[in-house]
């Protein structure tokens, strides 16, 4: 099991980070993704979105399965009967079974299932790991490579009830943050999408186009010095000190549900950096 976990974590930590933030009118998902065609963030249903990191073919299979499950349920019952919790459960069972079955290679994926309600209090954000654990996140979370430092950056700066612009600025700044320096990510290399409660259509998922991102992010960097309303610092600011609380960050999150593998929850993915690569278990 340990080998399998190491294998999965290794694969996930190779990719870029993906962050998810709750803001006043919904949930925003952001990731560095130079491809405009291969999405990491997608719509599942009216109020449910899916975001993932890791192996593309594996999370794409999970995404398609999610769309099929949701559409099937919505068609057989009613649109209101499709819930994020149900979907997160199905993913957890699937990932858990694959992880603990000897015949299959564990999935190298980590994902978010987000669902918005009528108010910010009823919004749900689930984080699922490669072994089928589900964590009910509150406010913000990061997955993928460098999730630790990105999550730490968010933890210091996240405020509840932010506007969409503020949330996107913070998300993008966090994605560009590493322990050594901060960099600015070009709008064309970003994939940003939101579940937006203010949309009049029943389908609340919306992608933020690069042109809109330039508008939002441009204002963050151009007039950063003069701006007082921006809650996050310009990208050039020295990295905040946080190594002291970093290792404790992940375990401190509150897992409300733990499903899947029967062995104990494993250490956070980034801990194994530097270990020699371990071959996937062969069958």
């Amino acid at each position: 099991m340990r080998d399998r976990a190491d294998f999965a974590r290794k694969g996930i930590s190779r990719g870029r980070a993906l962050v998810s933030l709750q803001y006043a009118d919904g949930i925003v998902f952001a990731s560095e993704n130079p491809s405009a065609a291969l999405h990491k963030v997608s719509e599942i249903y009216d109020r449910i979105a899916f975001a993932a990191v890791g192996r593309y073919n594996e999370f794409e299979n999970l995404r398609i399965a999610g769309v099929r499950l949701a559409d099937m349920r919505g068609y057989a019952y009613d649109r209101r009967d499709v819930t994020g919790r149900g979907l997160a459960n199905a993913y957890a069972q699937t990932l858990g079974t694959i992880f603990s079955s000897g015949g299959e290679k564990p999935y190298e994926v980590e994902l978010f299932v987000g669902e918005i309600g009528d108010t910010a209090e009823s919004d749900q954000l689930y984080r699922l790991t490669y072994d089928g654990q589900v964590v009910d996140e509150h406010g913000f979370a990061a997955i993928g490579g460098a999730a630790e430092s990105v999550g730490g950056y968010l933890k210091e700066r996240y405020t509840e009830g932010a506007s969409l612009e503020e949330a996107i600025k913070l998300a993008v700044a966090a994605l560009g943050h590493t322990d050594t320096d901060d960099r600015e990510i070009a709008a064309k290399d970003l994939e940003v999408a939101v579940l937006d409660r203010t949309r009049t259509q029943p389908r609340k998922f919306r992608r933020i186009r690069p042109a809109t991102l330039v508008e939002i992010l441009g204002s963050a960097t151009v007039g950063a010095a003069a701006q007082t309303d921006s809650s996050e610092p310009p990208a050039a600011e020295p990295a905040p000190e946080e190594p002291a609380e970093k290792p404790a960050e992940k375990p401190a999150e509150k897992p409300t549900e733990e499903k899947g593998a029967d062995d104990v929850p494993l250490a956070p993915p980034a801990d194994d950096d530097g270990e020699p690569p371990i071959a996937p278990p062969l069958d």
Binding site: A37, H39, S42, E43, I44, E60, N61, L62, I64, A65, V67, R68, L69, A70, D71, M72, R73, G74, Y75, A76, V82, T83, G86, L87, N89, A90, Y91, Q93, T94, T97, Q201, R203
Partner: protein, 279 residues
């Protein structure tokens, strides 16, 4: 969503058609059933009646009356027979009412499913073609009297214009020019449209023309409902342009319907078309 692992079929890449997936996985959920062959079931199910549609520069409008009948009885007075199928298309249905509503639900899911799986929307022709397949799938039911005939409209962003597609019960699909209608009252409605329709009408005028056509259908076809003033039930009107589709609010349609009725109090047969070459 189940409490156990997602079935393998859900995880298998392949079709982006929901109807195909449904047929393979849960055929019992398809809007058809195995009634004994040869029985005519047409009399036991309510019938929806008249739908009209017409294009105008930059868009298309579809409108339907609210009546469903069963034999000589009025089964429903406030039935909805015009449905948005996605942001840029809509479908109106005539024929066996319950089956038609299920068919529309499947069609709506089909379009949304494709959009989500593929990350892009189908072309207008592609949407019309999917609807053909669904109508054709209903052919065994049609043979037993449960006929469903849709009228499909949508905005084509490539052409920058609205399009109308008519169907037959075998799934045959025919692109219509200008205006069209389907259902028992459509003969009269199309007769009215033939005299009132101009390709260059603006949106508001075209709404009035379609309401006039539905009024004429209700005037001569007992299965088509006219505007119901006492119950405040008016035709459903859905407008689609480059900005997307919107169903007109009842108050807006009521105002048009009332002016149509006011005109009919003066002239029960409605507006008179100009006669070229006459005196």
């Amino acid at each position: 969503m189940s409490e156990s692992r997602i079935p393998a079929a859900y995880m298998t890449p392949g079709t982006s058609s929901f109807a195909d997936f449904l047929t393979a996985q849960s055929p019992e959920l398809l809007p058809r059933h195995n009634a004994a062959a040869g029985n005519n079931l047409g009399d036991i199910a309510p019938h929806g009646t008249t739908i009209v549609a017409a294009t105008f520069p930059g868009g298309v409008i579809i409108a339907g009356d609210r009546r469903a009948t069963q034999g000589n009885l009025i089964a429903e007075r406030d039935m909805r027979k015009v449905f948005p199928s996605d942001e840029y298309s809509a479908v109106g249905i005539a024929g066996s009412a319950g089956l038609a509503v299920e068919l529309v639900k499947l069609f709506q899911t089909e379009l949304e499913h494709y959009e989500k799986i593929e990350g892009t929307t189908l072309s207008i022709e592609g949407k019309a073609s999917r609807l053909s397949a669904l109508v054709r799938g209903n052919l065994p039911m049609a043979m037993q009297g449960l006929v469903v005939v849709p009228l499909f409209v949508g905005f084509d962003p490539d052409a920058g214009a609205g399009k109308i597609y008519g169907y037959d019960p075998t799934g045959g699909r025919y692109e219509q020019t200008g205006y069209s209608g389907v259902g028992s009252g459509s003969l009269f409605a199309k007769g009215a449209l033939k005299k009132l329709y101009r390709p260059d009408l603006d949106e508001d005028t075209l709404v009035a023309v379609l309401i006039q056509a539905l009024y004429d259908a209700a005037d001569d076809d007992s299965a088509t409902g006219g505007p119901d003033l006492s119950r405040r039930l008016f035709p459903l009107v859905h407008v689609i342009t480059a900005d997307g589709g919107r169903t007109l609010p009842d108050t807006e349609v009521a105002a048009v319907a009332q002016s149509v009725i006011a005109g009919r109090l003066q002239r029960p047969d409605g507006p008179i078309a100009e006669i070229e070459g006459g005196q």
